[in-house]
Amino acid sequence: MVALIAVASMVPGLLAGLQSSGIDYDAVAYRTGVILTEDPGWPGWPVYPPWEMKDQYHKDEIERMGLAVSNETPNILLSTKIEKFFNDTFFTTDDYRSKAIFGEIPYSYNITLRSLDGRYNHKVGQETPEGYGYIRRVVKIKEPSVAVIDGSLKERYTISPGDNSTTRTFTVRLDFSRLLNASIDPAYRIDPLTEPVNITITNFSEYLNKTDETVKNATLKSVTFRRGSSSIRFPFPYDTENPDLYTLSLDGNPYDLKPEAPVESNISLVLKPPATSLFPLDQNSILDIRFTFENDPPHTNITGIHYYDYNPKNVTRPALKPAVLEVAIW
């Protein structure tokens, strides 16, 4: 009789076990949502390099993947982190489980990010079933800045008459002490160490030497990187093309950093953070990106230093893009 009573009293315990894992999914989804939107990840600021710059061989050093710009700017996501996170050829299902979702049970997941204007439409994970734990977060995406040098800046960047040298150099200067200014909110800061640096020269025909009618283009000999005004060049594989480090395109065609090719209308250089991290730079360094044009006689009159700073005439910082992030767990 007592044994029967004891057995009867254990039966609710059996039923209790079945209920709790179903309630869990929403909690896990909420936690993953917080990690993705409010956490910059680890290793993240102040540790450098951050997790999105780890390559295949250092993938195990990533402890937690978060998409926020910093822990002071919740719900503002960094575009480089987004591109890295949604790269499911780099990360496996186990990586997502151990670095974003956590927990002992191997949950199935589906994480999507869509910007309201449609430019970002990323998805990672399996197809959702009928019932699942869910959370939706509204975020804004911070995109990298662009320095656009078009024909309107011609007066600033033309040589003074009487200059007879055959090489023309045009420099874009990144002064880190001015850029990494702590009084600017991280959501609007320009940080070349974690975001790509984009330099676009358009309407290049305006900078050509117009005195000679046959001149239709100028030859870009090389793009070099220097620290400050010293002549020490950074050790860098200048003649290998590596899209993870940089992209240089002249009139739409990709080249390496020693193109020695003619350019007619535009030059676009995107220097990615893994490249910037190869240079020994600190918060007070100055990085010069030097475009050298060489023709005899010179085909272009471009010269000068363009400062990559917070002046809106020098650098365009795109507006923050609203987006919606959804996490489903089952």
Partner: protein, 121 residues
């Protein structure tokens, strides 16, 4: 039947009562795993967004210090924040600045207490 022995019945009845009592206790202990706050209630109760919002509002107030001070309304705006917090958010808020950049914030909504000293440019 005076000679009928009723002690056995008492013992059986008592035994049954004890069994029911044990059963009740076992059930309570079993259910205690589910009783208590669920995760969602815990999230709802912790005023994460309220504190973040209040903090950014106070820092904003100090950023606009000169603008507000020009019209002598510093205390008014501060009173706004304190009074509305008390009435609508059920929270006691107190903040002040030591040196111009050092701001101290105190928040207490009855369940959560938050104190912070911030150095703001």
């Amino acid at each position: 039947m005076a000679c009928m022995n009723e002690d056995g019945q008492w013992i059986v009845l008592m035994g049954l009562l004890v069994a029911v009592g044990l059963f009740f206790l076992a059930l309570i202990i079993n259910q205690s795993a589910l009783v208590g706050q669920t995760t969602a209630e815990g999230v709802l109760e912790f005023p994460k967004n309220d504190i973040r919002d209040l903090r950014s509002e106070i820092l904003d107030y100090y950023s606009r210090y000169e603008r507000i001070n020009n019209h002598g309304d510093l205390d008014d705006v501060k009173d706004d924040i304190v009074r509305i917090s008390l009435e609508r958010k059920n929270a006691v808020v107190h903040f002040w600045n030591g040196t111009p950049e050092e701001i101290t914030i105190h928040y207490n909504n009855g369940v959560t207490v938050y104190d912070e000293t911030v150095y703001h440019y």
